[in-house]
Symmetry: C2
C-alpha cells in the first residue's frame, strides 16, 4: 500500500472545527487506500503566544528552554487530531518528534533535521493500519535528549523529511493558498496558478519572498526527489483542487522559459566609494561581514573615474543593515574607502525559470524592458535559472508587472 504525507499549517488547525475539516481530508486519502502520515502545526496564534512568554521571561532566553516551551503547541494539535480521527472511525495515534524520532542538530530555535527514523511509523502502518499524526516543527537532539524546534515554517520541513524517510508517494502541503503563482496576485491580478514547478525554481521562489514553503523543505524535497503538492486546506474535502506540484524538471513537459517573478523588500544596499583597487580588498570587506553572520547577496564592482580605485556595491538583509555599516566603519582604515553610502528603500525583483539555461538573452530582454519604463537598475545578479535586479522600491509593482507580461505569464 502506498504511503502519503499530508501537512496542515496553523490556520488549518486553528479551531476544533477546522481540525475536523482536516480529518475529512485525511479520511478521503485513507478511503483511497493510502497509509497516511499527517504533520500538523500549532493552532494559529499559539506559537506567537508561547514565543511571547519566553521573551517576557527573559529577553535573552536559553533557546533550549524556548524549544521546550514552543514545541508544546504542536503536541496539543497532534493529540486533538488523533482524537478527532478516532472519533470518525479511523485508527490514529499522535507522534511527538522525540517519539519517532526526528533527529536534529543542536541549533536550538532553528535546528536542522539530521535524520528521521521511519521504522516505527512504517511498523504502525503495516501492523495496525493506523494514521500517524505527527507534531511538526520539532525533533530531538539525541546527544543531550533535549527538544529542538526547526524555526518558522519548520513543519513543512518535518513533512518532507518524513515523506523521504517513509518513502511516501508524495507530500501534500495544505496551506491557506491554493498553490504557487507566477507572481504575487496582490500585485498582478493576472498571476496564474502554476500546475507544476521544478524543485530548483521553487527553491529560488521560496528564498525570494514567495513565502509559500520554508526553503529548507524545498531543498530536502529536491535532494530526496519527493513530489510535493502545495494545495488549499479550505477546499471542500470531497472535491479538492489539485494545487501546484513541485517536482523534478524531467516531469515538466512544456517548460516555460520563465516560470515566475518574485520580489523581496528585505534587502538593503551598501556602496563603498573609491576603494583601493588592489588584490585582497574584497576579502578585507566580506570576511568580517561573514564572520558576523551577515549574508551578502548581490555584489558589483565598478571601476570609478580614478583607475587606481573602484566602487563596490552589495546587498545585505535589511535587518543586518545597521550592523553591517558599523562593521565597515570599524575597518575603514584597513580598506581606505572614500565614503560609505547605504539605501534601504530598494527591492530585489527576480525572474526564475529552468528554461533560461537553454535560452540566451533572456535577462537582456528584461533590462531593456525595465529601461523603457524608466526604471534604473542599481545592481544585477544572475544564476543559471534566475536573474535579479535591484531597483528603487517605489518601482516594485511596475517592474513585477512589466516582467510578468514580458515573459508571457499573463495568459493562462
Amino acid at each position: 500500500m502506498a504511503t502519503l504525507v499530508m501537512k496542515f499549517g496553523g490556520t488549518s488547525v486553528a479551531t476544533l472545527d477546522r481540525i475536523r475539516n482536516v480529518a475529512r481530508h485525511v479520511k478521503r486519502e485513507v478511503d483511497a487506500g493510502y497509509h497516511v502520515a499527517v504533520v500538523v502545526s500549532a493552532m494559529s496564534g499559539k506559537t506567537n503566544e508561547l514565543v511571547g512568554w519566553c521573551k517576557d521571561a527573559s529577553a535573552l532566553h536559553d533557546m533550549r528552554e524556548y524549544d521546550a516551551v514552543v514545541a508544546s503547541g504542536e503536541q496539543v494539535t497532534s493529540g486533538l487530531l488523533a482524537i478527532v480521527l478516532q472519533n470518525m472511525g479511523i485508527a490514529a495515534r499522535s507522534w511527538q518528534g522525540w517519539q519517532i524520532p526526528i533527529r536534529t542538530d543542536d541549533a536550538h530555535g532553528s535546528a536542522r533535521i539530521v535524520g528521521v527514523d521511519g521504522t516505527a511509523l512504517t511498523d504502525h502502518f503495516v501492523r495496525l493500519n493506523e494514521v500517524a499524526v505527527i507534531a511538526g516543527f520539532q525533533g530531538i537532539h539525541e546527544p543531550t535528549g533535549r527538544l529542538a524546534t526547526l524555526g518558522r515554517g519548520g513543519s513543512d520541513t518535518s513533512a518532507v523529511a518524513i515523506a523521504a524517510a517513509i518513502n511516501a508517494e508524495r507530500c501534500d502541503i495544505y496551506t491557506d493558498v491554493d498553490g504557487v503563482y507566477t507572481t504575487d496576485p496582490r500585485i498582478v491580478p493576472k498571476a496564474q496558478r502554476l500546475e507544476k514547478v521544478a524543485f530548483e525554481e521553487m527553491l529560488e521562489m521560496a528564498s525570494m519572498g514567495a513565502k509559500v514553503l520554508q526553503v529548507r523543505s524545498v531543498e530536502l524535497a529536491m535532494v530526496h526527489r519527493v513530489p510535493t503538492y502545495v494545495r488549499s486546506s479550505f477546499d471542500d474535502p470531497d472535491s479538492p483542487q489539485p494545487g501546484t506540484l513541485i517536482c523534478g524538471e524531467e516531469d515538466i513537459l512544456e517548460q516555460q522559459i520563465i516560470t515566475g517573478i518574485a520580489y523581496s523588500k528585505d534587502e538593503a544596499q551598501i556602496t563603498l566609494r573609491r576603494v583601493a583597487d588592489k588584490p585582497g580588498v574584497a576579502a578585507a570587506i566580506f570576511v568580517p561581514l561573514a564572520d558576523a553572520n551577515i549574508n551578502v547577496d548581490m555584489i558589483i564592482q565598478v571601476v570609478s573615474d580614478d583607475t587606481t580605485a573602484t566602487d563596490i556595491t552589495f546587498t545585505v538583509p535589511t535587518a543586518d543593515f545597521d550592523r553591517a555599516k558599523t562593521i565597515l566603519e570599524g575597518i575603514h582604515d584597513q580598506i581606505g574607502y572614500a565614503s560609505l553610502q547605504g539605501a534601504t528603500d530598494v527591492v530585489k525583483v527576480s525572474a526564475i525559470g529552468v528554461g533560461m539555461r537553454s535560452h540566451a538573452g533572456v535577462a537582456a530582454k528584461a533590462f531593456k524592458a525595465l529601461a523603457d519604463k524608466g526604471i534604473n537598475i542599481r545592481a544585477i545578479t544572475t544564476s543559471e535559472i534566475k536573474f535579479s535586479v535591484l531597483i528603487d522600491q517605489a518601482y516594485t509593482e511596475l517592474a513585477v508587472r512589466t516582467l510578468h507580461s514580458l515573459y508571457g505569464l499573463d495568459k493562462p
Copy 2:
C-alpha cells in the same frame, strides 16, 4: 550538599509575575546551599482548557491522546521557570517526565508512578550545580513510549516520588493555603494550622476531602519516609512561614488524641430493607458493585423486626449513586430485598488522630456530643486512627464545630 524538592501548583505559576515569585523562593533555597529540584504544574486554567478541547474533540476520547494534549501544560511552565531562573543568574534546566524518566503504568489519565530514575538529575546537580525544573503531573509508559499523566493533583505525587528518588532532605509543597488545618476554616473560624501531622493522619485527611494534597502523594511520602511540608507560595520569599510538616509519628512529640476533623459531601447512602439473613448475601450485594468499580465505604447491618431478614446500609460516592442503584435493581431477584432506599443529602464527618490508638472511648464521646445536639447518626465506621459518622447534610457545620470543640482543637 543536601537536596530539596520544591513543588508549585497552578495558581503559583499562573502568570509570569508569579513564576518570578516562584524563582525567588527557589533562589532562597539555592542560596542556603541546597541542590534544588522544582516541580511545577501547568498555569492555572490551562489544564482545564486542554481537557475541554479533548472533550470537544470527542466525548469518548483515547486517554493516551488526552495525555499527550494535557501534558503540554506542564511542559510550558517548566521551560518558562528555567528561563526566569537563568535570568536571575541561577543555572537551571527543564526536564520533562520522559527525559528523567519518570516511569508510569499505562492507566492513561490517572497513571501511577512505577519508578523514578534519579541518576540524570543527581548527575546534573553534582556536575553542573544546576536547578532541575521538572514538569509535574506527567511521565512515560516506557513499553509503548507514550506520555502518561497522573490525574488531578498529580504534581504533588511527582514531587514526592522525585524526592524519594534523589534522597531529598525534604519535599516542600507550595500551595495557595499556608498549611494543613485542624478543620475547614470556612466552617470553623477557630481552626488552627497544624505544625506537624503524621503521614497516616494526613492520608485520612487527604482522602476525606481536605484537598490539600493528592492522596497518592501522601502514600508515597509515608512509604518512603519523605518529610513533606505544605506551605504557602504567596509568602514573601525572603521571610517564608513554616507551613505544616507531614512526617512520621515518631517525630511528633506532643501527640494530640484527635488532630483534625474532616468532612466529605461526596457520599450517598443506600439502604436495602429486609434482605434475607443468610450466608453469602453480603457477597451477592457487594461483589457486583466491586465489579463495576464502585467503592463501597461504610457498611452497617441491622437486624430488622423480622429475625429472618436484615437491613443493610452502605455508602457509595455520589457520582456512582445512580449506577449502584441500577445494578442493585438488576439483582433484586437474587437478593430478594423488600425495598431500596437512597439518600444523597448526607455527609460523612470524620475525626482523625493517631492518638486514638492509645485512648479508649474517644468515639463514644463524639456520639454522645452529637446526640446532645439532636444530630441523628445514620452510620458509623471506625479504624485505628479515625472514626466517621454519616449524618444529614444540613448538620454538617454543627457537627464539625461540635467535634472540633469537643477534642480541644479550638485552642492554639
